[in-house]
Point group: none
Chain length 534, copies 2
Amino acid sequence: MTRTEPAGTPLGDQFHLYDTTLRDGAQREGISYSVADKLAVARLLDELGVGYIEGGWPGAMPKDTEFFARAAEGELALRHAVLVAFGSTRRAGVRAEEDSQVRALLDSQAPVVTLVAKSDVRHIERALRVDVAEACAMVEDTVSFLVGEGRRVFLDAEHFFDGYAYDPDTALRVLDAAGSGGADVVVLCDTNGGQLPLGIAETVREVAQRTGLRLGIHCQDDTGCAVGNSIAAVQAGATHVQCTANGYGERAGNADLFAVTGNLVAKLGMEVLPEGGAAELTRVSHALAEIANLAPDTHQAYVGSSAFAHKAGLHASAIKVDPLLYNHIDPALVGNDMRVLVTEMAGKASLELKGRELGLDLAAQPEALSSAVKKVKSMEAQGWSFEAADASLELLLLAETGKAPVEPPFTLESYRVVLDHRAGGEVGSEATVKVHVGGQRVIATAEGNGPVHALDAALRKALSPHLSWLDSVELSDYKVRILAGHPGTDAVTRVLVESSDGEREWTTVGVHANIVEASWLALCDALVHKSLRQ
Amino acid sequence: MTRTEPAGTPLGDQFHLYDTTLRDGAQREGISYSVADKLAVARLLDELGVGYIEGGWPGAMPKDTEFFARAAEGELALRHAVLVAFGSTRRAGVRAEEDSQVRALLDSQAPVVTLVAKSDVRHIERALRVDVAEACAMVEDTVSFLVGEGRRVFLDAEHFFDGYAYDPDTALRVLDAAGSGGADVVVLCDTNGGQLPLGIAETVREVAQRTGLRLGIHCQDDTGCAVGNSIAAVQAGATHVQCTANGYGERAGNADLFAVTGNLVAKLGMEVLPEGGAAELTRVSHALAEIANLAPDTHQAYVGSSAFAHKAGLHASAIKVDPLLYNHIDPALVGNDMRVLVTEMAGKASLELKGRELGLDLAAQPEALSSAVKKVKSMEAQGWSFEAADASLELLLLAETGKAPVEPPFTLESYRVVLDHRAGGEVGSEATVKVHVGGQRVIATAEGNGPVHALDAALRKALSPHLSWLDSVELSDYKVRILAGHPGTDAVTRVLVESSDGEREWTTVGVHANIVEASWLALCDALVHKSLRQ
């Protein structure tokens, strides 16, 4: 079994930054993570440096069981974070060691287990249908069994705030049962999300005094206060805070990991991330939105692309002189940028920076830089986006600076894709490409599972006898976004293609009203980019 | 001139619900209101029953000048709200009555004027470039001049919280100057949005004690706490709260009017809206998003379409018994609805609840219910997702309960789609469908911008002579999700199609390795569902 305490933050185990994107975040309408997605999410959270990653409910959900199995086989290799399995206390009237759900938590091999338990007497009596004594025994037995098996245990006290307001004694008995069983932290959950900050702070202070237990906080955003509630709880004494990436979660969502962390670091001065972690907040937020296949929230606190964007007006010149008078923090602290809208300054500066990243000195070519800014802006107005497509941006900058290859590895004459759903119900896709490569005109036809697959197959068939490196290139991801503001099937489609040659990954973009043409543009850029690196 | 106090709320002038969507909200990146938009926004806010509507900055912005002129001519006819003009104090060294910007505020004929003034000594000295005495004189002169002209005046103390923390004496002198001039309310503005709830509450309490003035609050969302900060300020004694619709505003935005109002009404029991107003929150929020040309935030507190949507299979059986144990308020209070999502966690209870929403009594048919659960689970394992596709789920449940239509409106024999990128660079899409409808075999061919558009066009061409209702049906949204875990272009594709007939909207889903076939499945379900409602 791996370590039970997170590594690398100055606060160590004194403060827990706990992420439940993979379990509670996945409750958001529209999110459906595959096991591969879950592994990718966990890796990004670990790069950021969160202390604990709740991976799911092994035993209850087949995908979660597989996720923990693959993690146990070493697929995750977490550097900072400790993996947590979520589950329930034993059923009523059964010994903890005989409860298959509890055994599945052990089998997951996660070093930490978070158990959920009801702490509102109404839920205990009406939903669980046991008395308070048995509810407490279920908590204490399960915690002490898991602790005896060498696990650290945290207890999520579900519906705690409502329960405490209605019947404080029962709510506290449940917490005490967890403490007696050996739980390290009892987490006060605002499961229905109905609380406000001042009330949360008061209750946390009171409960800390009455129980002497280490307290955590878990907030939902039903009053629009999940972040404020979480921070108020920390200020009142909670030392464990549960969040989800971008606030994903059921109903209005959970407390947003990025806003909570931004506040802890920048406002309360708490070193809850390893060195350099805060500057990764913006990047990780956007990457996690991509994996969830949701558009990043442009107006998200700290990490949104507009979070430090100022409409040029009254104070534009003052902002330039003294930006910190107009920003609540230095945006670089969280890996974000200030933008002054309606000027080209920001565009040039960031393109120049980008060029430097790609090894191009655009500052030395002011005209090329200007024309590249103009080109990028006009393409972005048509729906292109280079934020995630470095490889396509690099090709564009090379073309603008006159450094594009004189000979691209191939040129297209034409393609044709035929899709049919035949009378017998069979569905087929076939593509023919006519390309010029190595001084020859080549025609190739191939079938595929769908139009883009067929097109990719035909292109490879035509090119691979001429391009020795082609076989090493794989399409590792393919994403489609129908751009909002263009309703109906005649919308503009943006396709992102991620390619890999086993050593390097690169992403290209294509935009067109026709999804197949958009895909074609991204596929071609991917191969041209690879050929430049040969 | 019209009245200076809002009409119709039980709290009357004791509490101000103040909206600045038309001024501060319009600072949001991407929002650009026409004068007609501004009038429509003001009418909706008035229907909701807010007390004050800040309409813009007459004199500074031509659109705002026109808006106030048309309002003065009677185009608005506000029933509840009072119109407010926003502007600045006089320039340094000029008499208030001789300052053209101040005169424009009078000319607007708005009965209330909100003046913005700097209250942070650093802004006074570095941006305004006057000394504190002159800054205070600018405030007092301008307020007393406008009050003398029969206006009520509120003062927005810009950057108040930062200024008070840095130099409390200067910040308080500015407030006192406003009070001496005759301002009714001094509004403490967290202009840079860097505050947290407990700190806001402490400062508001302290300032109320030290000044004895009536305090207002204006929060920006840069820490993700604008709503929590606003509510904390009210709990600490502020009796005037400034918000924007859906939190629109510069950077991360402002405090969301709907979440703040929901909290004031449902959590603090304050009657800040006229009778029936709270039940309009959801409708007005969505209508204001439409006018701003922004997609409503599905996960917005109180008013989002997911705000009361439950996914957890765990909870569904309990929710059925006692919905209020799982919702922080009755959704009807804010004009919203509870929804139960059908997901991979779907159990019988949640499917039964869903059936009830759709008017199907599945409890009476336990075998049909069992087989529907099995079918949903097996389809979800292949990538189908019904949580956003009620219409497809309804068709599935109807089929399982034997209530599907004996005759679907049409049957497909075959389709063929041809996409080509010709040698000249031209890209074309053409589809041919062979369908059976109204006892006939119909063949139709159409072109489109892309494969799905062409297929939709061909299908409509084939069917519309036979199905009279077809022309009313529009595709209002089309979403594509490449399911992760199946990398590369041979992935499984899930398509969601939202259709509208001008009265009703419904969503259908299709899943297939071939994106065109997936789209076809969703398109067909959309039409079959419509035909059932005929």
